[in-house]
Amino acid sequence: MNVRSLLWLPFALAAVGCIGTRPEQARYDELRRLGADDDGDEEHNPGYPCVDCHGRDYAPGDDVFALAGTVYLRASDPYERGLAGAVVHVRDAEGRELEVVSNEVGNFMVSVEGGEEDEGEGSEEGEIEIGWWPTYPLEVWVTQGELEQRMETLIEREESCAHCHWRDPSATSVGRIYLMEDGT
């Protein structure tokens, strides 16, 4: 093999996909490194950015969600223990509303099926199917009984709540989605 033939090697490898990792794959690898599992039930990975693995463009988790996240009772609750039975209310830019009830670990998921518009009924598993893709920005509020927390800003484009609500508050996160302030 002469030197000239070696010059073609990187192009040949790139052509068969051996060079580089897609950003989505890199993100998936990072979540696995942080402890995310892929057992597939509705109660796995509370607090993780769901749509990183359940997105329209990249879905190693099979199910595709239009919006998904985890609700907690308090801002400092353990990230793996969310609040069951919280109602997540969403109103999109076209005024359409949906409600979804969080499951045993606080997870909720909104997926889209074709067909007639579904007004949205929460389920015990934390899932709901609607007949339309939400139009951003989204207005969101969470209730349970008499408790209510309204999101102060709108969701402009992100489908994973944990993208902005990743665990403890930091420079890049506003902290968990919660219903009650700590100490109340």
Partner: protein, 156 residues
Amino acid sequence: MRRAAIAALLLTGCVADQGTVAVEPLDAAFYAANVQPVVGPSCGSLDCHGVGLRPLRIYAEDGLRIDDGLRGAPISDEEIGWNVAAFGGVDPEPSSADTHVALSKPLAVGAGGLHHLGDPVFASEGDPGYRCLRGWLAADPSALDACAEAEAALEP
């Protein structure tokens, strides 16, 4: 002869743009008091320009912070300074405030704007937010009213 040619070009508008407004040195104090309250909530969320690698990265109280310890605190002078620098950096040599990319990107395509991944923010040049941002870029004091109007429109 040469002087006469240059003078003739100037007179016929071939050298200097007519009807455009120059971008003045960006006033950080005006930005902090009037523009940040509009730009922060409407552009600087963590899923839009509150991302470190995005062009025109914007720090905001409820968005990206420059330090973990600033979460929950008012916007800092340092963050304001970097935001002003980001506006300058996104269009380093603007020919006019009206064509500044920070104005044309969020403006609807139908109104003369450019494609914006986050959808149009301003439907027209009459939008208070547009007039606020343009006024700051052009050092136009009349932007004050537009900024106040835009900020009021953001109230829940």
